[in-house]
Amino acid sequence: MRNVVVEDAAAAVEGIKDGDTVMMGGFGGAGLPLGVVKAVLDRRVRDLTLISNNAGSTEDDLSLWFEARIVRKIVCSYPRSAKQFAEQYRAGTVELELVPQGTLVERIRAGGAGLGGFLSPVGVGTVFADGKEKIVVDGREFILELPLHADFAFVKGHLADTLGNVTYNKTARNHCAVMATAGRTVAVEVDRVVNVGDLDPEAIVTPCIFVDRVFARSSR
């Protein structure tokens, strides 16, 4: 039977390479796969394109990636309160694509769902419309927004069974559920791996078809 459980974070990030595009789940610390953050650092990759709602803070989080200068570009909605990112942003050593949060989520969803894009009312008449195609439907103007894909999507779940079905914990679900549909390789860091059959079929949020790797967060 299918079994996607891998030993640890290092195994979960196997294959990541310079220049890859990486989605990282989380809204603040909730939903951020912290074991993955460190395992990617250990791989000493460079020039990543990072798709994430935030850019870390001053803590033990994505700020480590900016400190280590492994991110070339971030696609993000709210890179505030992020000391290390801000320093590099001011120095011009990292590129920022600022995307309204709902548009960010929807672009990721479009990538996972095989859509070519969508028409958004968000940003019309603002700088967020600059350089984008405008399409008028029934007299109302929309912006054409394009899908986002990634080589890897890393998210934090609550429970996963060995097949790869995943549940989330409270507001840690946030961007994780959508990102889990949009990575070529999807790896989920969970609090606990359970047996097949332990999860309620009605309450599984990410069905196993989307999931390639699962590992239990180390208790260290």
């Binding site: 909730a30 505030r80 309204p100 709902g102 929807e106 603002t126 507001t171």
Partner: protein, 225 residues
């Protein structure tokens, strides 16, 4: 005349929220409106990171960092609450399912244009978050802010000087001096702080103001009568 305190301003907004309405309080100052919801208001609070029926801040030591609001502060869940992913959360916002969003602002124009995400200055990285989705999607957009900047300039302007969040979306402005409705005929003062003359308000306001016929008086605790 003493401008309303932050607490009184939050209370004034809270008293205006529709009974049993679905409301998003953005981040920062507007989130304090939650502390002043009248008993039995039935208001259901949404937070954009994927939760409906947000409850009060947990007691110290009881925080669960998987249960936070859009300001990344610990919250609790009321009975009847639900969790969902960001995609459904923003469908609620963009799709017009929220009755009211209460947002902070740097500037609001006489046409209801909203500027609340960046002052465009300096080299700090900008952040937009979910403010723009709320501004475009909620049925009513209320702004809650100080009437003027710290150095006395009007935040209610002819035309926003700061980068826009959305055009023509604000329907009501609550400041520490007054309540203003944004109408097709421009800005109309619905309520004025006790002891403040309309001319004194106009002095502090760049955009033209008219006074509604049945305008009300705001007392120091944020009550309106």
């Amino acid at each position: 005349m003493i401008p309303l305190s932050r607490d009184a301003l939050a209370r004034m907004v809270a008293l205006h929220l529709p009974q049993e309405g679905f409301v998003n309080l953005g981040i920062g100052a507007p989130t304090h409106v939650a502390d002043y919801l009248p008993e039995g208001s039935g208001v259901i609070l949404h937070s954009e990171n994927g939760v409906l029926n947000v409850g009060p801040k947990p007691a110290a030591g009881e925080e669960d960092w998987d249960l936070i609001n859009a300001g990344k502060m610990p919250i609790s869940l009321r009975t009847g609450g639900s969790y969902f992913d960001s995609s459904l959360s923003f469908a609620m916002m963009r799709g017009g399912h929220l009755d009211v969003a209460v947002l902070g602002a740097f500037q609001v124009s006489k046409a209801g244009d909203l500027a609340n995400w960046t002052t465009g200055d300096n080299g700090s990285p900008p952040g937009i978050g979910g403010a723009i989705d709320l501004a475009v999607g909620a049925k009513s957009i209320w702004v809650m802010m100080d009437h003027t900047t710290k150095d006395g300039r009007s935040r209610i302007v002819e035309r926003c000087g700061y980068p826009l969040t959305a055009r023509g979306v604000v329907t009501r402005i609550f400041t520490n001096l007054c309540i203003i409705e944004v109408t097709e005929d421009g800005l109309a003062v619905r309520a004025l702080l006790d002891g403040l003359a309309i001319e004194a308000l106009r002095d502090r306001t760049e955009a033209p103001l008219r006074v509604m016929g049945d305008s009300l008086t705001i007392t120091q605790d944020g009550s309106v009568a």
